[in-house]
Amino acid sequence: MSDKINLKIDNIAVSINGGSTILEAARKINIRIPTLCYHEDLCVAGNCRVCVVEQSGSDRLLPACAMPVSEGMEIHTNSMKVRNARKQIVELLVSEHRADCTRCYKNGKCELQELASEYIVGENGFIDLVAHKGYTIDNFSPSIIKDDSKCIRCQRCVRTCDQLQSISALTVAHKGEHMKISSFFEKPMFEVVCTNCGQCVNRCPTGALTEKTYLDEVWSSLNSDRKHVVVQTAPAVRIALGEALGMPAGEIVTGKMVSALRRLGFSSVLDTDFTADLTIIEEGNELLHRLKKVVKDKDDSVKLPMTTSCSPGWVKFIEHAFPEYLPNVSTAKSPQQMFGALAKTFYANKIGVEPENMVSVSIMPCTAKKYEADRPEMRSSGYKDVDYVLTTRELALMIKQAGIDFASLPDDEFDSIMGESSGAAVIFGATGGVMEAALRTAYEVVTGREVPFENLEITPVRGMESIREANIKIENVLPEWDFLEGVELKTCVAHGLSNAKKIMEAVRDGKAEYHFIEIMACPGGCLGGGGQPIPTSPAIRKKRSEAIYAEDRHKPIRKSHENPEVMHLYEEFLKEPLGHVSHKLLHTHYTERNRY
């Protein structure tokens, strides 16, 4: 199928590999064909019909996204016939969509709205169907709001949930006029097996699936004189926030983001990266502890492989799908929750603020973090450790609301303490990053030497391949780790829950033996999180990933255990990794959940 096919699109000759679609051929010569159900990350559906084009000599129009090119084809993307048909289809979609645009959260960011304005869908459209259908809004989930009245049945969310995440929380129900995107037994999203990952939100072209927003709550905290509002920002926010504010993908905007947060009125602008370093210390030590128990003490009660626990989508997934492996999940809390627990204890004490007067806000690339912050376990400070979670998109909206010209902001530095971080923390935002960060620390703890990779870059765990494995031989260990001498540490990295499922099935079936597995629920890791700027695509995620690794390279400190603020925290407060205070504040437990 790789032979070149020659065709003409709008009288422009194009040559492209066989098996390509008309849409791909058109993009190659910079002809834009509108699409709605098409998404680069998903299989072709061909069901919205917005991309229809005309082929000379053919009565019916062809869907450009689904139709393979053939030799000598003459395609017209802008004929009268195509324009008329396309306009009718847009009008039809508008007629079944609650076109209440000015009141919509996605106003200005809606793909249907864009097409409607392009094709001038005016007053003379079709009869409004929404009025006939008695829709209700599902806003029970702490993360995701589903409003069927705005759904145009493109099934991007269905394909996302099935293909990328293998969850199928969202699926098609009924037929004909009753056809809708539904959940198991049409229950609300929070009752079904949904990991809150928000990948559906990232791909919904309209306002049918959106994150639940907590902007009002945060604004009102900021406006309260009694409240001290601390904010933490996740590693993947700083490399994507710019996109939501008109900058190109891959721009590192850490300094501007800190400036903006100060301007918004946050009392302390701190960094989740700080607790990412802390996570590495706790989780790395937990791994070594488990290895010791298994390899040296032959203790059956301790489970390997150990998996990471920082992705709340992944945690909820394993609670639903592989609860028998919950003892394998690291008990270390995610950086967000470690931060929350420390903010209202250690930090509050440090700055002399009563924890009840402290509001803890986090800026996350993630919708599942909203759910995580709501978990009943996450109150180890005695208060809700993280009060409000905002996505990258919501922060961008706050910045806009405040009238801040983001691009012209000066760079600023995080507050101290809990603002310092290493390069190892930054790469948490990319798939493989936690693994790399953990290895940088664990290897050095055991051997006293740096990981044997040039410039500390553990390239085998980097990249966008869905599942990656890396084995590292541990040699010439320090005396206290002699039981690890010659052990080949087997690691695995996966991103996207459909890949997580493959890994866990392989582990369950005894087909894979690992010591340590990193899993991120979202494609590309947090940089492709459900709370990140829309749109997302492989190319955009690649740019974000490059930015993350560049940020790591430029950091003066590259290893978590060398973060001076973290060392200080241990000296002054935590005393030792996996110690009593850590156990109370930084570790958690998991809950088996239903499978349906």
């Binding site: 919205c48 019909r49 289809i89 006939h132």
Partner: protein, 410 residues
């Protein structure tokens, strides 16, 4: 429901016997012949190319309505390279007003099975399925017995082929071949993108021949009597005979095998009650022909309507002057609003708009020119919908509104 459905009489043998003598009834398919084994052996002794060429030269086209040349379909599947291939008999007869396949399966199922077996032999399939309409479950036990006997004949002839029955669940859309595959694979019955076509990538993504019940029965006649005899019947590109399900305002509703090429006038003369004002040809997804065009309309693949082929699934509904064409259309649209799979925009939303649109015009909530906007919509649906059914759901709307516009408004 309304009057149209109440008048669907089931044809009885007695009724068929009462038919007028002058009807050009052929009785090719329904001729009870007990020579399955002979025909099978005779055909299997010939080369695959010979059998395919016979089918091609006979001019046999798919009787489900789309009219794809059957011989070519078998040829393409035979040429496809794959370890597993399948033969599927589409017995999901769901088009309103069609009930001929059930009669074929009731009275001459061995002809259908023979067609399937020969096809399997030619393309290299070991497994066949009859996708039986959910509402025809009463046929299942009887068919299973006949299939058992047939398997015995296959063993004697040395043909390694088995037929199973797969029960549909009542969705109209599953009569569309790729939706039928999806349904058999345990998924939602939704049509796939084409290409790839079934002969390359059908059931379980393997090369598959899927033929209508009647088409397979015709292959038996061609194998038995030769392509010439078949080709002698009919006109031009519409060769052979066709089984029609005649219903509506007719004194003799029933199933008739007639030669292709007769004019609708002749048909109405034979079957009408003397007061026929329109005939719906091809079921709810077909075209409504008004009296003034009876003379010029030929029943066959080369219909002159709208420059497209006249759907020939076999449903012929006759309406006399007592009928409201608004009600007829309303009934069809009710059906499609319910039975569209809902996957593609033109069909899912378009059908709802057509229905609400004629209601609004009738009630005076929309001006009569709104019908013109809907006619444009119907055309857009025809050229943009994803599957063959979606492309034809607006046919009844267009042809009824164009010919009976005043009935829509007043």
């Amino acid at each position: 429901m309304n009057q149209i459905q109440r008048e669907f009489h089931l044809p009885t043998i007695d009724k068929l016997k009462q038919m007028k003598k002058n009807l050009q009834r052929l009785d090719l398919i329904f001729k009870n012949e007990h020579d399955t084994e002979t025909i099978l052996k005779k055909t299997l002794a010939r080369s695959n190319d010979e059998v395919i060429n016979d089918l091609i030269s006979s001019g046999l086209k798919g009787r489900g309505g789309a009219g794809f040349p059957t011989g070519l379909k078998w040829k393409l599947a035979a040429e496809a390279e794959a370890e597993n291939k399948y033969v599927i008999c589409n017995a999901d007869e769901g088009e309103p007003g069609t009930f001929k396949d059930r009669e074929i399966l009731s009275s001459v199922p061995h002809k259908v099975l023979t067609g399937m077996a020969v096809c399997a032999h030619i393309i290299g399939a070991k497994q066949g399925f009859i996708y039986l309409r959910g509402e025809y479950s009463f046929l299942k036990s009887q068919l299973l017995e006949i299939i058992d006997d047939f398997h015995g004949i296959l063993d004697e002839c040395g043909v390694n082929f088995r037929v199973e029955i797969f029960m549909g669940s009542g969705a109209y859309i599953c009569g569309e071949e790729s939706a039928l595959f999806e349904s058999m694979e345990g998924k939602r019955g939704e049509p796939r993108n084409k290409p790839p076509f079934p002969t390359d990538c059908g059931y379980m993504n393997r090369p598959t021949v899927i033929n209508n019940v009647e088409t397979l029965a015709h292959t038996y006649s061609i194998m038995k009597y030769g392509p010439e005899k078949f080709k002698d019947l009919g006109v031009q590109d519409s060769r052979g005979s066709k089984v029609f399900s005649v219903s509506g305002d007719t004194p003799i509703p029933g199933i008739y095998e007639l030669e292709f090429g007769m004019s609708l006038q002749k048909f109405v003369d034979d079957f009408g009650d003397g007061d026929s004002k329109a005939v719906q040809v091809g079921g709810a997804s077909g075209f409504c022909v008004p009296r003034k065009r009876f003379e010029k309309t030929i029943i066959g693949y080369q219909g002159k309507l709208r420059g497209t082929s006249l759907p020939t699934g076999g449903s012929m509904m006759i309406f006399n002057s007592s009928r409201s064409m608004y009600n007829v259309l309303h009934n069809y649209l009710d059906f499609f609003v319910e039975e569209s799979c809902g996957q593609c925009t033109p069909c899912r939303v378009g059908t709802q708009q057509l229905l609400l649109g004629i209601q609004a015009v009738k009630k005076g909530e929309q001006p009569s020119v709104y019908l013109d906007k809907l006619l444009d919509l119907a055309e857009a649906m025809r050229i943009t919908a994803k599957c063959g059914l979606g492309q034809s759901v607006a046919n009844s709307f267009s042809s009824i509104v164009e010919n009976f516009r005043e009935e829509m408004i007043y």
